[in-house]
C-alpha cells in the first residue's frame, strides 16, 4: 500500500519534471526556430479568429445572465444603480478570464492536442527530428507565444461583449437607466482589476496551451491505447487537465492578488 502510494507520487513528480522540461525546451527553441513569425501568425489565426464566434456568443450570454440575476438581487435592496458595477467586476475579476480560457481550451486546445497526437502517430514529429528541425520549436513554440497575447485579447473581448450583454438585459429589458449602468461600470473597475484580469488570462493561456501541447506531443505514451484511441485519450486528458488547471490557477492567483 505504502509502496504503491510512493511509486504513484514519484511517477507524478517525474511527470511534472518532464512537463517542466517540455515547456522550458519549447521556449528555449525560440532562437533556434526559423521563420517563427509566420508560424505564430497561423497559431493566432487558430486560437484567435477561429474561436471568435464562441467567445462572442458565450460572452454576450454571460453578461445577459449576470444582468438578469444581478438586477433581481439588487432590486430587493433598491440598488439597481449598482448593476453595472456588479456585472463589470464579476466579468473582469473572475468570469471573463476563466470562461474565455475554458472556451479556448474546448476549441483551440483540444484541436492542438489532437493535431499533435496525429502528427506523432503518423511519424511527422519523428520526421522533423530526423531532418534536424526542432519539433518542439516548430510545433509548440509558436502556439505558446501566440497564447500569451491571444488569451488576453480574447478575454478583453469577452469583457466588452459581456458588459454589452449586461446592459442589454439590465437597461433594455428591465429598465435600468443606461447612463447609470455605464457610469457604474466606469466607477467600479480600476487598473488593479484590469491587471488581475490580464495576469490571469496570460497565465491560463500559457498553462493550458502547454498542457494541451504536452498531451498531444506524447500521445504515444498513453498506456493501453494506440492509434486513434491514443489521440482521443490524449485530447480528453488535455481538456480535463487544462480545465482543472484553470480553476486551480485562478484560486492561486486570486489568493495572491486580492
Amino acid at each position: 500500500m505504502v509502496g504503491s502510494i510512493g511509486s504513484y507520487t514519484l511517477s507524478r513528480i517525474r511527470g511534472l519534471g518532464d512537463f517542466g522540461l517540455f515547456v522550458a525546451t519549447s521556449l528555449g527553441a525560440i532562437f533556434a526556430t526559423k521563420r517563427l513569425p509566420g508560424r505564430i501568425g497561423r497559431a493566432v489565426y487558430e486560437q484567435g479568429f477561429r474561436c471568435l464566434p464562441v467567445i462572442l456568443i458565450v460572452g454576450a450570454f454571460t453578461g445577459m445572465v449576470l444582468g438578469l440575476q444581478g438586477y433581481y438581487v439588487l432590486n430587493r435592496f433598491g440598488s439597481e444603480g449598482l448593476l453595472g458595477a456588479l456585472v463589470s467586476l464579476s466579468l473582469v475579476r473572475e468570469m471573463a478570464p476563466v470562461l474565455a480560457a475554458l472556451m479556448l481550451v474546448g476549441q483551440a486546445g483540444s484541436a492542438l492536442a489532437a493535431e499533435l497526437g496525429i502528427q506523432r502517430n503518423s511519424e511527422q514529429i519523428a520526421a522533423l527530428d530526423t531532418m534536424g528541425i526542432s519539433s518542439r520549436g516548430y510545433l509548440v513554440t509558436p502556439r505558446l507565444l501566440s497564447a500569451a497575447f491571444v488569451f488576453p485579447a480574447q478575454t478583453a473581448l469577452f469583457v466588452a461583449v459581456g458588459l454589452w450583454g449586461g446592459s442589454l438585459s439590465g437597461s433594455l429589458l428591465l429598465g435600468v437607466d443606461p447612463g447609470v449602468y455605464w457610469s457604474s461600470v466606469y466607477r467600479a473597475v480600476d487598473a488593479e482589476d484590469v491587471r488581475e484580469c490580464l495576469i490571469k488570462a496570460v497565465t491560463f493561456g500559457l498553462l493550458t496551451t502547454a498542457i494541451c501541447a504536452y498531451q498531444g506531443f506524447h500521445a504515444h505514451r498513453i498506456k493501453g491505447a494506440t492509434g486513434a484511441r491514443a489521440v482521443s485519450a490524449a485530447t480528453t486528458k488535455a481538456v480535463v487537465i487544462s480545465s482543472i488547471g484553470i480553476l486551480a490557477a485562478d484560486y492561486i492567483i486570486t489568493s495572491f492578488l486580492v
Partner: protein
C-alpha cells in the same frame, strides 16, 4: 568507444535494444560502404524498423556502437547529432508528409528550417527536387491529393533536397502491390545512381531488394544471421536464409498438399 575502420560510411557494432524487458535487437552488427545500397531483410516484427530508428536517433539504443565515417555516433552530443542529421535523410514507412503543407512546402521545409538560403533559392531548389522526381506539376497540391506512388516520390524529394550523403529507407514498399513495389525499388536505384547517396533499406521484399542491393543482411529474431552479397544470399545454405528466401516455394508446396488432400505440414513454433 573505440575508433572503427574507416572504409565503411556506416558501421554498426553489437547494437542492442529492448522494450519492457523484451529484446528486439541483440548484438546487431554490419557495415555499409559509401555509395552502395545495403538492404536489411527480415520478416515483419524482426526489429528492422527499430534498428533504423536507433541508427537515425529516433530511438535510443540500450548498448552497442555506431560509427559514421569512422567516428562514434553519439546522439546525446548536439554537434554530432546535428552534423549527422545534416548529412543523412530518413524516409518513413508512412512517408510522414505534412498534410497541411503543399508538395512544394513539404520539400522546402528542411531547407527553410536548417539553412540560411533565401526564399528564392529555397523555392528553386525545392522545385528542382520536385522536377527530378517528376512532381513539379503537382507542386501546389497537398499530399492527400496525390496517389500512393506520388506520395512516396514526394517523400523521396524531401529526403534528397538537402543533398544527403546517406538515405535510410524504412519499408519503402509497405502495403504496395507488386507493380508499385518494383517501381519504388527502381526509383531508389535510379536516384541512388543519379545522386550517389548511400542507401540503407529495411524491407521484407526479398526479390526486389536482391535485385537493387550491393549487400544484404538478414535480421532474424533481433540478430543478423546472414550478411553478404545478393549472390551469396541466393546460394546460402543457412536454414533461416533458406526458409526466408524460399518462402514462395514453401507456400506452393503447402497449396499443392492442400489440393491433394494431404495433412498440412507442422508449423514451426
Amino acid at each position: 568507444m573505440t575508433a572503427a575502420n574507416t572504409d565503411a560510411l556506416l558501421r554498426v557494432r553489437a547494437l542492442r535494444k529492448g522494450f519492457d524487458g523484451r529484446v528486439v535487437l541483440r548484438d546487431v552488427g554490419f557495415a555499409v560502404d559509401r555509395g552502395s545500397i545495403f538492404s536489411v531483410l527480415g520478416p515483419s516484427g524482426a526489429g528492422k524498423s527499430v534498428l533504423l530508428k536507433c541508427l537515425a536517433g529516433v530511438e535510443d539504443p540500450d548498448g552497442g556502437e555506431v560509427f559514421f565515417e569512422g567516428r562514434p555516433l553519439d546522439f546525446r552530443e548536439r554537434t554530432v547529432r546535428d552534423s549527422f542529421r545534416r548529412r543523412c535523410s530518413f524516409l518513413f514507412q508512412g512517408n510522414a508528409l505534412f498534410d497541411s503543407l503543399t508538395a512544394l512546402q513539404n520539400v522546402a521545409l528542411p531547407l527553410e528550417q536548417t539553412t540560411n538560403l533565401s526564399r528564392a533559392e529555397i523555392r528553386e531548389r525545392a522545385m528542382q527536387a520536385l522536377a527530378q522526381l517528376e512532381l513539379d506539376e503537382h507542386a501546389g497540391r497537398y499530399p492527400g491529393m496525390l496517389s500512393g506512388g506520388m506520395q512516396k516520390r514526394l517523400a523521396l524529394a524531401r529526403a534528397i533536397v538537402t543533398q544527403p550523403e546517406m538515405v535510410f529507407f524504412d519499408e519503402p514498399t509497405a502495403g504496395l502491390d507488386p507493380l508499385r513495389r518494383n517501381a519504388v525499388f527502381a526509383m531508389i536505384a535510379k536516384y541512388q545512381a543519379l545522386f550517389g547517396f548511400t542507401a540503407l533499406i529495411v524491407t521484407h521484399d526479398v526479390v526486389e531488394a536482391l535485385a537493387v542491393s550491393c549487400m544484404v543482411a538478414l535480421l532474424h529474431q533481433g540478430e543478423i544471421c546472414f550478411s553478404g552479397t545478393p549472390e551469396e544470399f541466393a546460394a546460402s545454405g543457412h536454414p533461416v536464409v533458406q526458409s526466408f528466401r524460399d518462402s514462395p516455394d514453401a507456400l506452393r508446396a503447402t497449396l499443392d498438399a492442400l489440393r491433394r488432400g494431404d495433412a498440412l505440414p507442422q508449423e514451426e513454433p
